[in-house]
Amino acid sequence: MKLLTKTTRLLKAALQNIVRNAWLGIATIIVLVMALTSVNLLIGVNALIQDAVALLEEKIDVTVFFKQDANEALVTQAKFFISDLPQVKSAELVPSNEALERFKERHANDPEILEALAELDGNPLGATLRIKARSTSDYPFIMETLKNPQFADAIESKSYDDHSESIKNVQSIGENSRLIGMALIGIFALIGILIVFNTIRVAIYTQREEIGIMRLVGASSLFVRTPFVIQGILLAAVALLISAALVALGVAWIEPVLTPLYDGTDPGLKRYFIEHWLRLLAIQGGGLALLVGITSWVAAGKYLKR
């Protein structure tokens, strides 16, 4: 009963603090919303860059051209060997006869090419193996594996040599954007923490006289501090909801604007926030509540000395 009375009083004091210092509360919420929104903005930008890089990575593959007289069993064996590698996402084999069929289909309206083809004795095209790696960093390993003497002699050429530079570029963009994105989010989070810390300190500074009076009439430090902590956490919760709404509105507005820039495909921003909303809310909400709670506790304690 006593605990219930105490809790009710602490909650009441916190709510009264909010209502009676409404302007201070609004200013605190605005600062918290700005800090949260800027962190979310960077998270969104980072997600977009990651998606763009993933899109580029998805477009990369390597084609192995086998010699026209390569043994069919050896080619099939090479396909299975490559497919079994953990670094390989997919390996598609086009046998020489199918390659010829596809060539004919492609040039069905070009009688000159078809005539030239008919003049040849047999099928001039060898089998091809199209390989997609799980990560761009896996291609050098796959290429090395294809040097296996068992298959090396049957291989005419590989398209990797043409792509190697662009694969390296995409790889480097991906790594850099991840690193820069994380660093920027870290810096913004740190700036946000400093702003929030100082805002709460100023808010409590304006109430230092009240804290002194509470102490004079016999309030324990717990009784003085707790309403400030509750008040801070409630303001943080409101700020979190407002920033979540702003982010949702912002994403809904910007997604259609971005789609043409992504060749009409999904830029992945909305998808990212939908997939990660619970984690983002938990990390940001938890972090903010912890930050505001600790700051309020420490800042109020400063005026509780005696």
């Binding site: 006593k2 009240e210 009076i213 009439v217 016999g218 005696r306």
Partner: protein
Amino acid sequence: MIKLKNVSKTYPPNVQSLKDVNLDIDQGEFVSIVGQSGAGKTTLARLLIAEEKPTRGVIEIGGWDITRIRRREIPTLRRQIGIVFQDFKLLQKKTVYENVSFALEVAGETRKRVREIVPQVLKIVGLDEKLHRYPQQLSGGEQQRVVIARSLVHRPKVLLADEPTGNLDTLNTRDIIDLLLKINEFGTTVVLVTHNREVVNGLRKRVITLADGIVSSDKKHGKYLIS
């Protein structure tokens, strides 16, 4: 009730505010502590409510040695001493009722007790009609009465009033002093720190005079002697 044994207080770098003060105030006494500015009156008041610790000596209140009181024990002490200040120290964003009830709430009193006691003390100080006013809507005298009401809710054994009439006109001063006398009649020890000559001389109660941090005179039915 209040005992000070060889109490000294030195502020850094080396300002001696009180020097070897010995005092003995009995329960139910009405004592005025007088002296010029810088005599050590306010330091003495701050020591009694444990806002400061003495550099040397022992302070006892109701048999409790508060010389080396722990921080977490201070709220308990302050619930046993009613404190009245010249600048009122009211919570401006709380109503009259809330300012008074707050002192009970912090001590964990039940809602029922709060509802019983607060109207009673506000009636004693004559503010039972202004429960829902905020401090800024009251006169200086009324604000001081709220402070006195707040200090009475715990039925303190000691009421310490540090210049309670400093911000009041003659009429309100008279009212507040009458109120303190009434409280004293109920058995509460009243320690009045003041430099108001008329008030002290009109009381004809014990007067302790401080000068340069020492007790220069202690008269049972004294007068304000400092020019």
